[in-house]
Every structure is written in structure tokens, then in C-alpha cells.
Amino acid sequence: MEDMRKSKHPIGGLADKLALPALTLGTVLTALAFLLAFTVASPVMGAKVNGVELIGDEMIGNQILLSQKIFYFHMPVAVTSMVVLAGTAFFAIRFLMTRDALYDLKAKICTELALVFVICTMITGDLWTRFEWGVWWTWEPRLTTYLILTLMVIAYFILRAAVDEPERRATFASVFSIIMFIDVPISFMITRLIPSSVHPVILRTDSGLSPDMLAPMLCALFGFSLISYGLYRFRTRTEIIGQRVDVLKEALDNKLGN
């Protein structure tokens, strides 16, 4: 049997050894982000009120918008979903170049993770939209392009389930995931390209995020990135071992049959 550490898709190497620390650190960072968001990050002010009041050591003359706290998880999960989808596209291209089925497996696992983060983005975004804009849904450019992305991620799994032959399934899924990835930069850039878009733009040079707001946001961003890496390695390792067990079972069946 091929040495698992020396193969083109090694398991049990450094990348796998880092998975558990990454998962643990990611969980700690996201928990820290949650705490910082509600303790350190200054509140965002809304509409003016009739008068001012001294709260703590500050004179406040506006409504306090606590709903903005959703942003500290919403934006990091959205960015993570896009990064993971870049991984899907990368492995899809590698599969089309090499026809190595394990690249297709890695692309599938990346899309699984993308589905989780896309769902998280839609949930957090929708809850914020419902409270701030008073509607569950609006056909705003960022929301629309991200909804298309969500539907494409779901369609990826429907496509995989619809094709039985493994080689054809992998080829179709790879081509589809490359097409799917085209929507990622469109969704990311749409708020910059269409000025009428009402979706807030955070990643820009003058975003106005003070260090106390930047800290929880970055903690959550690195936290979710590490969690996605840890889960990706864990799932990849499980599936590669599963495939090797299948090969062993087949060999054993043949031997027992003789």
C-alpha cells in the first residue's frame, strides 16, 4: 500500500497536525470576538434624539444601534465563504488539469464548508435586514448577487447527486464550480460598482472602523478562517481514509471470493 505520508495527497502530515490547533484557536478567537463586540467595541449611533444625556463619560444625543453588533459575525462569515469558494475553484481547476479524483473530493469538501458559511451569512444578514430595513428581503445588488451564489452552491450538490458516473460527475461539478466562482468577485465588488447600493461597504481604506471595532472583526475573521481550515483538513482526512478502507474491503472481498 502506498505510504500515506509520501503520496500526492498526504494525510497525517504537518497540515493535519495543524488542523486541531487551528480549530481550537479558531473557536477561542471567535468566542473572544463575541466578547469584544459586546464589551470593547463602541456602539454605533443612529438617529438624533431630542436632547442629550450623559452616559458613562460621554454625552449621547443619538439612538444606540445595538443591531450593528451582528456585523462582527456577518462580515467574517461572508468573507470566509468567499475564500472557501476560491478553494473550490482552485481544486476544480486542478482536477480538470490532472483528472485526479482526490482534487474533486477536496473541491466537494470546500463547497460543503462554503454552504455552511453561506447559510451563516444569509441568516445573519437577513436578521439585520429585518430589523434595520424592516423587511426580510429586498432586491438590493449585494443581496441579489449573494443569493445567486447561495443558490449555485446548493445547485452544486444537486448536480453531484444527479450524475452517477464518477468521472463525469467530477468533470461537471468542476466546470460548474468555476462558473460559480465568477459570482464571488461580482458579489464582493457590486457595492463599489453600483453607487445606489444601500448595503454598507466595510472593506475600504476609509471604512471608519476604530481600533476597538476592528479588533473583534479581525478576531472573528481569523477565527472563522482557522475553523474552516481545521474542518477542511478533518473532512479531507476522513474521506481519504474512507476511500482507502473501501479499496481494502474490495481487495478483501476478492480474496475471500477466491
Binding site: 463575541f34 443612529g46 434624539v49 431630542n50 436632547g51 442629550v52 444625556e53 452616559i55 449621547i60 443619538n62 439612538q63 444606540i64 444601534l65 445595538l66 443591531s67 453588533k69 451582528i70 459575525f73 456577518h74 462569515v77 460543503e112 464548508l113 455552511v116 447559510i119 451563516c120 441568516i123 445573519t124 436578521l127 439585520w128 429585518r130 430589523f131 475553523i227 474542518l231 478533518f234 473532512r235 476522513t238 474521506e239 481514509i241 474512507g242 478502507v245 481494502l248 474491503k249 478483501l252 480474496k255 475471500l256
Partner: protein, 64 residues
């Protein structure tokens, strides 16, 4: 509480279900995926144990 403070804090309580919902549901979504990953791992682990047992039985039979 005076009327100005009431106005300043007016959006906090109504927004709480949405904020709690957002944070809880993110953790729930990730937790569900972790459970799915763990279940798949357990299945692979039990399949490996079965292969190992079958091979051991085969070796024992060959020796006898």
C-alpha cells in the same frame, strides 16, 4: 428613566431577538456541520475496524 434616555435606548430591546438569533444560529450551523463530520468519521472508523477484524479472522483461519 427620562424621555431622552428612553429614546436613546429605544432600539436596544427590540433588536435583542435578532442579535441573539444571529449569533446563536451561526454557532448552531457550525455545530451541525461538526456533528455531520464526526458521524462520518465514526462510520469510517467502524468500517476500518470491520476490515481489521475480517483480516484477523482470515489469518487465524489460514493458520488452522
Amino acid at each position: 428613566m427620562n424621555s431622552v434616555l428612553q429614546e436613546i435606548y429605544s432600539t436596544i430591546l427590540p433588536s435583542m431577538p435578532f442579535i441573539i438569533g444571529a449569533y446563536v444560529l451561526v454557532w448552531v450551523a457550525l455545530f451541525v456541520y461538526v456533528i455531520f463530520a464526526m458521524r462520518r468519521f465514526k462510520t469510517v472508523e467502524s468500517q476500518l475496524a470491520l476490515v481489521e477484524r475480517t483480516m484477523n479472522d482470515r489469518v487465524m483461519n489460514d493458520r488452522q
